[in-house]
Symmetry: C2
Subunit: 559 residues, 2 copies
């Protein structure tokens, strides 16, 4: 029968490399079956339990290191526990000489004055403090640590913005700056593609695939996963898009993220349009609004994002015209429910707020189907309109009345409608709608009409004559929802003005020199890649004893 | 100043063509500015109000016809109201002779014994009754009417299934059977593409675009929008897929719908795979799981669905191998959160139930991150696992333990994991994971291991040797999430057994002959297209008086 023994090191700070190496050291000892060395959080206790390693009587706090061994016999177990200190010391002495290592960020900055980046991977509760120091020193921050509060993230990013600095993260796993990988990063050749990534392995998968396809990367900038939520409002992503748009070496931009908040998506899409460069967007798990809208390309997988970026790069670089800007509202009056729905899918990322009587999400629901607000898409075939009334494909009356109603609203800049031809439909919709459009445009030439005409050459209405009549009345004509969506997205797009001090591009392009605070392997990786780097022999304030740290902090502030 | 006058026709049934024509007739009279003729439902009263046509004192019930005129003067208004009866009569006499028109479905069926379809567009509250009669007569039903209850829809479809008949709808706007359009339908050439559409204008847009691209349609079968919700469980869509899979003239199938319920999507995707034919799927507004999984192609717009179908049709028809079937559960153990997420996006439509500690939707949340259930994807880089522990890209311990745990579950058939190489990552993950895989497979050769390896030639780990080691241990290797998803989807797919009496294909291919009950224009359209058709001179039971109708129904059932 096996024996379990345990030991607690109370309230001290140990980094996770120490914990891993101690555990492996213990498992290597004679008679030891298994071992666990963890900070005694509830989750870690559950993990020990799942591995049959949780002693019934171990009374440890989440801040304590809990050391557990399972052995063939009592003696082996006790021997192993006795060896803990020795194993901890052996680990220390095995590493490179630490004599010349600075013990603070300030000291490190003096030692490597060229350092333009600080890499931070200390535990979350200390990370924001270190990041603040880094920004005070005028350095960009690569913040690998997670468990940083949202308030800290927002405050750090606002400070960074004012200083023209980047804060990548928290929870930023990867970046490539000037050919040097930070954190986890694949070795990829340099090339014309810049990445903005709110997702770590997403960015790795895209950069690796781009390399494997024969192309390369200028910079891959990480933002951290929360950057694209409303609270943070994509500060880092916006800075990065702006930066890459100004970088002449970046010809194509890839933007990868889990689905952002709706308002954030709109802002980012506008900013991406405003770069004037081809931007490949992959909002993972978000329905693709289209394959392409002007300079924007929408991908449906990580590998496809890479493939599109490489393909676009191979093409002749086209001059992308600045789209005309319409600042007024869109009103869509549809007879086809699915056409209305597909149009909303396509527009919702770029045009907000968008309302409808047949919305995709609850927050898009129009309060009163008879009164449009902001941008509105109405499905006139919806039950509300249909009791005792012919379908709007047969009877144009309701749509004509609504067109006039929309045109009376001075906030309206575009009226969109579908014309579905074919068997069963009205035999001359253009004959009824055309004169109304003409009449409205005589009074309001500023209102643009856009018609989506669905039909074939063989339809009873003569599609060519229908299109001709609508064109004569002044409407723009498209034959698919996809083309219509692309056109409207370009026409309604807004320029996104940069509100922050721009990040200094020349400084970013200087050889990367970094100060590393936290995981030593990230320092070693910088050195291996030929970058200048300094590792800070960091210890938490007061050795991780929080009460003591609070006291120290109070004393400092009293000085 | 203008004058408003009104008139009410209480409790009588008027079809919507009558209402429209009366309104147009009134507007054409001298001195009349505008007119409204509607069933006096709350929605219609609101519409009248929006058009300044609602009289303050008109006290009409929803079942009443409310006639309102706005005139230049009192006399014109009163004259117009006086003309209502005359206008109603004039409308009648203008139509084709109605002498030989049957007044019941039974009579129509005797008059046109070849009729295999009944088109129903009467008001919703009468529609289910007519559909039931049609099924009793052994006819397929095209149910254009909306406002049919969910209970009625389910009951009708179950009955239809038992009889090998189709009920398209309720709220089915379009279909093309044997080249004849039902309801609203574009005239398109015949060709190799069959459509199953849960969306009316969606089907029209796809069929029209296919025609415009030079190809054509075998049959386009509508299901009605609610068919793909859990309650109805896609009865009509399943029947239709089965039918088209047996039709030798249908070489490619397109399936178009708003996003179905998750369980319904899974069933449909399995059924689509089982057809063995190329199936283009467009679940409007649902994130595309992939571009292609075996014989399934996923589109991101209506027009693209058509384009893919035409393109696939132009290619050499490939023999699609029946995918091997694994009936056991999948467990994915990821170090990369985004790779886990993208994998779930890809798998969730086809593999259910799917759980995760980092789910896409709330109902996928795994209760205990330490215990997998059914199909489970674990993000081992999630905060829960990460306090005081190295990232799973650096430390393989947690994943190795979890692999062993999953392998101890007899329900597990496949273990998926990612290996993310590059700077910062473990220098020999395959060296640690490979032996564990080998050890597990020695005991459980039935468990398949699938690895997604992300990295480049230049990464410090030597990707080729990593892949070689993993292959030797018995793992299947893929280099992108997209390829991994495709492979797993094929391996885990289940054959979907048809539960119902199959629809008779030979009968479907007989020349279409239809009985039309409701909108006369649908009858006229059948005749114009050269189909045999009979129009039923339908009137609601007891002239639309519901109390009387209930009484009549009681008396009938007492007989």
């Amino acid at each position: 029968m096996s024996v379990i023994k345990w030991n607690i090191r109370a309230g001290a700070y140990y980094d996770s490399v120490v914990l891993m190496q101690l555990q492996r050291g213990l498992v290597g000892l004679p008679g030891i079956i298994d071992a666990g060395v963890v900070m005694a959080t509830p989750a870690n206790r559950e993990l020990l339990l799942a591995n049959n390693l949780l002693p019934d009587d171990a009374n440890a706090n989440p801040d304590d290191m809990l050391i557990v061994v399972k052995a063939d016999d009592e003696k082996s177990a006790l021997d192993a526990i006795d060896k803990v200190d020795e194993l901890l010391t052996r680990r220390k002495s095995a590493t490179v000489s630490e004599d010349f290592r600075p013990r603070s960020l300030n000291a490190a900055a003096r030692q490597l004055p060229d350092a333009n980046w600080v890499l931070i991977s200390v535990p979350g509760r200390y990370a924001a403090g270190v990041a603040r120091e880094a920004l005070d020193l005028g350095k960009h921050v690569f913040l690998y640590s997670d468990n940083v509060s949202l308030e800290d993230e927002i405050a750090l990013k606002k400070t960074a913005c004012e200083k023209g600095l980047l804060v990548m993260g928290p929870d930023c796993g990867t970046a490539i700056i000037n050919g040097i990988g930070l954190g986890f990063a694949n070795r990829v050749r340099r090339g014309p593609i810049g990445i903005v990534g709110a997702s770590g392995t997403g960015t790795q998968a895209v950069t690796a695939h781009i390399h494997n396809l024969g192309s390369g990367i200028t910079h891959a900038i990480g933002t951290g996963g929360r950057d694209l939520k409303s609270d943070v409002s994509a500060i880092t992503a916006h800075q990065s898009l702006d930066l890459l748009s100004r970088d002449p070496e970046t010809k194509i931009i890839v933007l990868v993220s889990k689905p952002p908040s709706a308002d954030v998506a709109t802002g980012l899409i506008s900013a991406a349009q405003a770069t004037g460069k081809p931007v490949v967007i992959y909002f993972i798990g978000y329905p693709s609004p289209s394959r392409r809208v002007g300079n924007l390309h929408f991908a449906i997988s990580l590998s496809e994002a890479a493939e599109i970026a490489v393909r676009v790069g191979d093409q002749e670089s086209k001059n992308i015209e600045e789209p005309p800007v319409a600042n007024l509202n869109l009103r869509g009056l549809f007879s086809g429910g699915t056409l209305a729905y597909e149009t909303m899918i396509g527009l919702q990322a770029g045009i907000t707020p968008l309302y409808s009587n047949a919305p995709i999400t609850d927050n898009q629901l129009l309060k009163d189907p008879l009164k449009s607000e902001a941008h509105t898409i109405i499905d006139l075939g919806d039950e509300f309109f249909m009791v005792g009334r012919l379908h709007p494909m047969i009877d144009n009356d309701l749509r004509i009345r609504r067109m006039k109603q929309e045109a009376a609203d001075p906030e309206v800049g575009m009226i969109l409608f579908d014309v579905v031809l074919g068997e069963g439909s009205h035999l001359d919709p253009a004959g009824e709608l055309g004169p109304v459009i003409k009449e409205i445009r005589d009074k309001r030439p500023d209102i643009e009409f856009v018609a989506m005409v669905i039909g074939t050459d063989d339809d009873p209405q003569d599609i060519h004559s229908q299109i001709e009549q609508l064109k004569e009345s002044g409407a723009e004509i498209f034959r698919t929802a996809a083309e219509t969506v692309e056109y409207i997205s370009l026409r309604m797009s807004k320029n996104n003005k940069q509100k922050y001090a721009p990040v200094n591009l020349e400084q970013l392009k200087r050889p990367l020199a970094g100060i590393n605070v936290g995981l030593e392997s990230f320092y070693e990786s910088l050195i291996t890649q030929g970058a200048q780097a300094v590792h800070v022999e960091w210890r938490p304030p007061a050795g991780g004893n929080e009460k003591m740290a609070a006291l120290l902090s109070k004393m400092k502030s009293k000085k």
